[in-house]
Amino acid sequence: MNGRQLITDAQNTWCPGCGNFTIQHTLKTILSEMEKEGTNLDDVVILSGIGCHAKIADYLNINSFYAIHGRAIPVASGIKCANKNLKVICCVGDGDAYAEGLDHLIFAAKRNIDITVIVHNNRVYGLTTGQYTPTSPLGFKGKSTPLGTLEYPLNPLELMLASGATYIARGYTRKMDLLKTLIRGAINHKGFAFIDVLQICATFFNMTDYYNAQIYELPTYDRSNASIACEKVKEWDYNNKAPISLGLFYQRTAPTFDEQFQHQMSVKSERYPIVKEFLALRQ
């Protein structure tokens, strides 16, 4: 059996050198592996917000929900609750998921809903041509802050840890093999899986040299140990120069929202008798 054509005919409009290519390629590889292993790709759904990252919804030839800025995650939660057989993957931006729609990210983690969230974290608003985001370093001079921002960045991994996420990882678009392992792990993880991907924006915030100089892979430790994870997560605060660890920081198993939700669910197809029964009670 030949696998499906995984890329659509849509014209790709990312800039040369954009890290989004790596993420797309990685997902493509993973999808075709999954297909070979027997997953029906009609059971996979990809979601995206709005931004450069989001174009991936057009490019991958699988079910997709190209949502609105900041709101892919609640849609994904609805999809997963509606049909627990679907594999649900969200590709979101840092402006998208850390600014406009931060609350949804936190609540998805809190609920431990079984979806995968990949943040294309280029630390800039790409598609709107270069403003700071919540992970831009202090003093970032973007188009909306020509005098430099006045805010320290958020550390999204720390926030996710505090929110109850059960799979927390960081990847980098110049480390494709690791990225593949992390995303594959996230999709396999039963529960809310979060990967912050340091994605190179070639046009507005090219951090390649900086990252290349700082990154290293996390050593072996008990991934279910929250204290160690917490320490590792704090090593780099997205602002000051420090070693940047890549890999899986934390993983644990816990009941998922969608699964428990199924237990509370009951389906009845004949509706009129139910209504009549109810009305009789009110007499």
Partner: protein
């Protein structure tokens, strides 16, 4: 002669005035009456002054009137704040521990103590007293308590019996038959309408006056075969629901104006991505937080125009429980059939009012088959067809790649920017509006009541129907209520207006929103009666206001 009675129950928030009222309504129901209950409460949890007015009649009634025959007083405010509602005929039944007035007083404390019952059961004592004072048989009381008190009917009955025994019958509320109606609130009627329409999930964030729908459905998930989710905020509500609908669920959401604001971006997404969804919006007095527990009809144009860009939507404003039930089911059908957002526009008076429904008489909506993908031709989520309606498939369907998109897109759902595609897809979406409007021709989108001869008509929408209906009966007028407000049934409306000389629009807002919608559709009105203090316009008020405009 009309057989009628009105009872006012009043007390502090936390004393269970709402449930006391519901029991009184059931007492009337079990005595053969049509009943209606208005429940008035400020936005607080304990204290203040809550009251309910229960009206029973031998003909359908769906609104309260000014005069009350009985006052059941759990606090002094009930006596002092309602002087304009009472007359010589009025009989007071009250808790003499805290209320000073004339009539039938009982010491609730003494009763509770002797039954060792908690304070919240105090209202059972006065209900018992009321039943006796009004000559309702103990059997009826016992029957109603047993059927309609979810918990502790036994001890409540004991308390009630003591109240019952302490007073004398003064003026009998005659039993007028053994027929019983189903008594339910407007929100409950919407809820069962949605259930009948195939609801699988209800997503909502609490907001008065929609919250009771959330509570009702949450309480009955097992019974109705549905699920209920209450997420972090209204933005999440609509987006989650769109996720459900995309994946094949039948999703409805509910809120009031402020929460609806937060849903408008998702609404526009539903319009562009052609994802069906039901929005129940129950209006309260605005702007902003306004009066959370009081009524209004001031969000019509907001609902009709919310969301950037242009896309078809279905908007229906039921006026009573029959309509609420039927049209909620229809809305479900319409939303999925045409893949458009559908809004059920209610108001506090309808949502939280309690009404009688004649089970035999309710109409059941007819459901068309969904335009599902046949699985033979290649799948295009936005295939352009004669009707503009594209075949539906859900993710997980073998062989269908289901791509939905908030951007302008081509037939496969992939982003497109070319002028030609934009024009075509805009027309595709607008075709659905036309097809929907045509299909609506076979529905009773306009409700016509009252005198068929009358040359003067009261035009109204939503729950004001009930006031107009009653006044029209008294003054021999016609009533026209457009139920579907989008697509506006302009042909039917013009037909309904044939022969009419004088058009008076009656609504609960300050700018005349239905009047504006009519004008927009080429129909000018001769006078407007606008009422906007948060309280429902009652027949008594309307009669006065009509005098002012010379009717």
């Amino acid at each position: 002669m009309v057989q009628e009675v009105s009872i006012l129950v009043g007390g502090k928030a936390g004393e269970g005035i709402n449930s006391a009222g519901a029991i009184v309504a059931q007492l009337l129901n079990h005595s053969g009456y049509y009943t209606y209950m208005y429940y008035d409460y400020p936005s607080l949890i304990r204290g203040g002054h809550n009251f309910a007015i229960i009206r029973g009649s031998d003909r359908p009634v769906n609104i309260h009137r000014n005069f009350v025959d009985y006052v059941i007083a759990l606090n002094q405010d009930t006596i002092t704040q309602h002087k304009q509602r009472v007359g010589k005929r009025t009989i007071n039944v009250f808790n003499s521990d805290v209320v000073r007035t004339e009539g039938q007083g009982i010491s609730v404390n003494t009763i509770l103590k002797s039954e060792n019952a908690p304070a919240i059961m105090g209202n059972s004592a006065v209900i018992g007293a009321f039943a006796k004072a009004s000559g309702i048989s103990w059997d009826t009381v016992s029957d109603v308590f047993t059927r309609h008190m979810p918990k502790g009917a036994d001890i409540n009955l004991k308390v009630a019996k003591r109240g019952y025994d302490q007073v004398n019958t003064i003026n009998t509320i005659k039993s007028i038959g053994s027929r019983r109606f189903s008594v339910l609130t407007g929100n409950e009627a919407i809820g069962i309408g949605l259930v009948a329409g195939g609801l699988t999930v209800y997503v909502s964030y609490p907001m008065t006056p929609s919250s009771s729908l959330l509570h009702f459905l949450a309480e009955n998930t097992k019974k109705f075969g549905i699920t209920v989710i209450h997420p972090e905020n209204e933005i999440s509500v609509i987006l989650m629901a769109l996720g459900f609908a995309y994946a094949g669920g039948r999703a409805a959401i509910g809120t009031s104006g402020g929460g609806f604001c937060l849903m408008t971006e998702g609404l526009s997404l539903a319009g562009m991505a052609e994802i069906p969804i039901i929005l129940v919006v129950s209006q309260r007095t605005g702007p902003s937080t306004g009066l959370p527990t009081y009524t209004a009809q001031s969000d019509l144009h907001f609902i009709l125009n919310a969301g950037q860009g242009e896309f078809p939507r279905f908007v229906v404003a039921p006026g009573d429980v029959q309509q609420a039930y039927y049209w909620s089911a229809v809305a479900m059908d319409v939303a999925w059939r045409y893949q458009v957002p559908a809004c059920i526009l209610a108001d506090k008076t309808l949502s939280e009012g309690t009404f009688s429904i004649e089970t035999e008489k309710i109409s059941q909506a007819k459901f068309a088959d969904l335009p599902l993908w046949d699985g033979k031709t290649p799948y295009f989520r936005y295939a352009d067809t004669e009707s503009g309606i594209s075949p539906l498939a859900y993710p997980g369907t073998n062989g269908a790649v289901v791509k939905v998109n908030s951007y302008a897109h081509d037939k496969s759902g992939i982003t497109a920017e070319e002028s030609g595609i934009i024009t075509q897809m805009t027309r595709k979406r607008m075709k659905k509006a036309t097809v929907l409007a045509d299909a609506m021709e076979s529905y009773d989108t306009i409700n016509i009541e009252g005198s068929s001869e009358a040359k003067t008509v009261l035009i109204c929408w939503g729950s004001v129907l009930n006031t107009c209906r009653e006044v029209a009966l008294e003054l021999n007028l016609k009533v026209i209520q457009p139920i579907v407000l989008s697509p506006f049934p302009v042909i039917r409306m013009n037909q309904a207006l044939q022969g009419i000389k004088r058009k008076i629009v009656v609504e609960e807002n300050v700018t005349g929103q239905l009047s504006a919608l009519l004008r927009f559709n080429g129909i000018t009105s001769d006078a407007m009666v606008l009422h906007y203090d948060g309280r429902p316009l009652t027949p008594d008020m309307l009669l006065n206001r009509l005098k002012e405009v010379g009717v």
